[in-house]
């Protein structure tokens, strides 16, 4: 976190999924909530996200997943964070069926946000995830 307490979050689309409507809306919601948002864009890899997280000294990593690949890619991101010896929480949003919520948490994802989360809920979830580190 920066000295004035502003949360700095990396948002990225990991893998091939090109659905970026949701992540762009979330980026603006978090900005409106006073956070610094670094949007890496499409077709990122776990390596490119880790590199950005280190360089930007990010407080959180937010991924948006709409392609049913979250059960593979989200745990891969958590593992990459651990291997880089970072404690950055990984937050996942998107099309996540209920039955996947617990397995994702078990895999180390800090917060999972499904469809219909309000702007306040999204911002609060990020604050909570950052505070819990």
């Amino acid at each position: 976190m920066s000295q004035d307490g502003q949360i700095r979050i990396i948002l990225a689309k990991l893998g091939l999924d090109g659905h970026d409507r949701g992540i762009k809306v979330v980026a603006r919601i978090l900005r409106d909530a006073g956070m610094e948002v670094i949007y890496l864009g499409l077709r990122q890899t776990t390596d490119s996200i880790i590199a950005a997280a280190e360089q930007e000294d990010a407080d959180a990593i937010g991924l948006s997943m709409h392609n049913a690949s979250h059960m593979t890619l989200a745990p891969a991101m958590v593992k990459a964070v651990a291997e880089a010896e970072l404690d950055t929480p990984v937050i996942v949003g998107g099309i996540i069926p209920d039955e996947d919520l617990q397995p994702l948490r078990d895999a180390g994802v800090a917060v999972v946000l499904g469809p219909g989360a309000s702007a306040e809920e999204v911002a609060q979830a990020v604050r909570d995830a950052v505070a819990s580190v």
Binding site: G15, H19, A68, I95, D98, P115
Partner: protein
């Protein structure tokens, strides 16, 4: 429009009507009584012209519309391996379907093979995986390709997939001129909305013009381009932006193809469109009506089309996936019904209705059947298909049609301006300077804020939220498809003649380097050697480079 004058029979009394009526009376009609449920006979059309089938086609592209033939109920399918999807295709054909519509998985859409690191966790999830000719052969096994029409939803690597389809047909003695179908190949909307691009815009358009040239010469029954607003709308645009961006993309392709030396009337009649049908009923109907009028006028006046077919905006419609809610998913059935009705009243040529469970995953079989039944209800029970353009002449609908047109024209003027008098250059400029993605993101954010503030009610999401039992039955694609597909690809690579593959790929690269060459013939030769999708894509990428979107918010 003059004030409608009608006789007691409801038939307008004017010479335009008489001329249209003559065409109508000559046509074959569906064998059913055109009367209400209560037995009241109804005329084929009410109100003023221009009548359907007559320029500028606001009221419909054909003189008889659904009185002759209902829209095609074309349901999109594809999952797992080619064999899985082949079984689904055969099921569709057994049930009387004549049109197949293919969904490809994400790696295929991006021109990646199933063994690419990018494909991890993605193989077979959103559609079928196609790596080589062997998969395409499995996909269409035991299906007579001269007797079906096949729609393939793929854009970046469209030329390679089309080449595989041609090659499989040839193995079965079916020549390219016998093949009927559509390949989406609309690359502009990829940069603007769907984001499944590979190369930068200009080389991508060169590939598309090569496909247009090839199909114009060799495949008279093939539609080489389906210009799609659907994804623009799903990404968050307004109805007017969907309309305007889509038609502008259409104008841009026309400019590109004519610049490559193809006469406008030789290919424009084989262009088709694909629109979204969202929940704002009258706005959607106005959008569909405006689309026909605008396309006709621009094709005639700006691009000098002479053939009537070149001026017809024929379109497929799909209900709005983005309108489906994960909360109380069953109520999506009602949304889809209303959107389907808007598509029918808007005069669509074909329709896909979404399944109520698609906010969460690919549809289950039951949900897909309910979706099909929904459009069958619209077609057969509501009477909406018995009268052509039944809302035409209603003051609100006519105003909305004019308003959609006015907003679209303002956007065309902007693109024409930034393109220095060329819509094609305007579209390139708008991609390059972030105009399209910016406009779409702004509209999406505006909508979300309205929902979040409660100014706009989404039933089950920000109001009327009781009754969500949380039950979800979703279709899952297991990891088996990915494992199977990787092994299959390894086997194909093992068995092929590597020298032949390398030589054929070199020929693709050589053709890519020569702007005068047509890429289609060397791509067809390459896929026949079992060069993979990704290898062919990379053979062009060497020359064309890749496109990386600037991450803008």
């Amino acid at each position: 429009m003059t004030a409608p004058t009608s006789s007691d029979s409801g038939r307008p009394d004017n010479p335009e009507y008489a001329a249209w009526r003559e065409r109508y009376d000559e046509a074959n009609l569906r064998d059913k009584p055109f009367e209400t449920m209560s037995g009241v006979p109804v005329e084929p059309i009410y109100g003023d012209g221009p009548y359907p089938g007559e320029y500028p086609y606001t009221r419909g592209v054909y003189p008889t519309m659904y009185r002759s033939r209902l829209w095609t109920m074309r349901m999109f399918a594809g999952f797992g391996t080619a064999e899985d999807t082949n079984a689904r295709f055969k099921d569709i054909l057994r049930n009387g379907g004549t049109g197949l519509s293919t969904a490809f998985d994400m790696p295929t859409l991006m021109g990646r093979d199933s063994d690419s690191p990018w494909a991890l966790g993605e193989v077979g999830h959103c559609g079928v995986a196609v790596d080589t000719l062997a998969d395409m052969r499995d996909l269409f096994a035991d299906i007579d390709l001269s007797a079906v029409s096949t729609s393939m939803t793929i854009n970046g690597p469209a030329a390679v997939i089309l080449a595989m389809y041609i090659a499989v047909a040839e193995e079965n003695g079916v020549t390219p001129d016998q093949l009927a179908g559509t390949i989406q190949a609309d690359i502009f909307k990829e940069y603007q909305a769907q984001k499944e691009y590979i190369y930068p815009p200009r080389p991508s358009v060169r590939i598309i013009t090569d496909m247009i040239r090839y199909t114009t010469a060799e495949m008279p029954r093939w539609h080489p381009l389906s210009i799609s607003g659907y994804h623009i709308r799903e990404a968050g645009s307004t109805a007017a932006q969907e309309l305007a961006f889509t038609l502008a993309n259409g104008f841009a392709y026309v400019e590109a193809a004519t610049a490559a030396g193809v006469d406008v009337d030789e290919f424009a009649g084989r262009l088709s469109f694909f629109f979204n049908s969202h929940s704002d009923f009258f706005e959607e109907i106005g959008k569909f009506r405006a689309a026909r009028r605008i396309w006709a006028r621009w094709m005639k006046e700006r691009y000098g089309a002479k053939a009537e077919r070149s001026m017809l905006c024929r379109f497929h419609t799909q209900t709005a996936g983005v309108s489906l809610t994960a909360q109380q998913p069953e109520i999506n059935i009602a949304r889809v019904a209303i959107q389907a009705l808007a598509g029918a009243l808007g005069g669509t040529q074909s329709l896909h209705t979404d399944s109520y469970d698609e906010a969460l995953a690919l549809p289950t079989e039951k949900a897909a059947r309910i979706a099909l039944r929904t459009q069958q209800i619209v077609a057969h029970e509501t009477g909406a298909a018995d009268v052509i353009d039944p809302l035409g002449g209603a003051p609100y609908v006519e105003w909305m049609t004019d308003e959609m047109e006015r907003q679209a024209e303002a956007i065309f003027a902007h693109l024409d301006d930034i393109g220095n008098g060329s819509i094609l250059e305007g579209v390139y400029a708008g991609i390059d300077n972030g105009y399209f993605v910016g406009e779409i993101a702004d509209a999406a954010y505006r909508f979300e804020r309205e929902v979040n503030a409660g100014h706009r009610i989404i039933v089950g999401v920000n109001d009327f939220t009781d009754g969500d039992d949380g039950e979800q039955h979703i279709l899952r694609i297991g990891p088996e498809a990915e494992e199977y597909q990787r092994k299959r690809l390894a086997d194909v690579k093992q068995a092929r003649d590597d020298a032949a593959v390398a030589a054929s790929l070199a020929a693709v690269t050589t053709a890519a380097e020569d702007p005068e060459a047509n890429l289609m013939p060397p791509i067809i030769e390459a896929v026949k050697t079992y060069a993979t999708l990704e290898e062919v894509v990379m053979a062009m990428e060497k020359v064309f480079g890749t496109y990386v979107e600037k991450a803008v918010l």
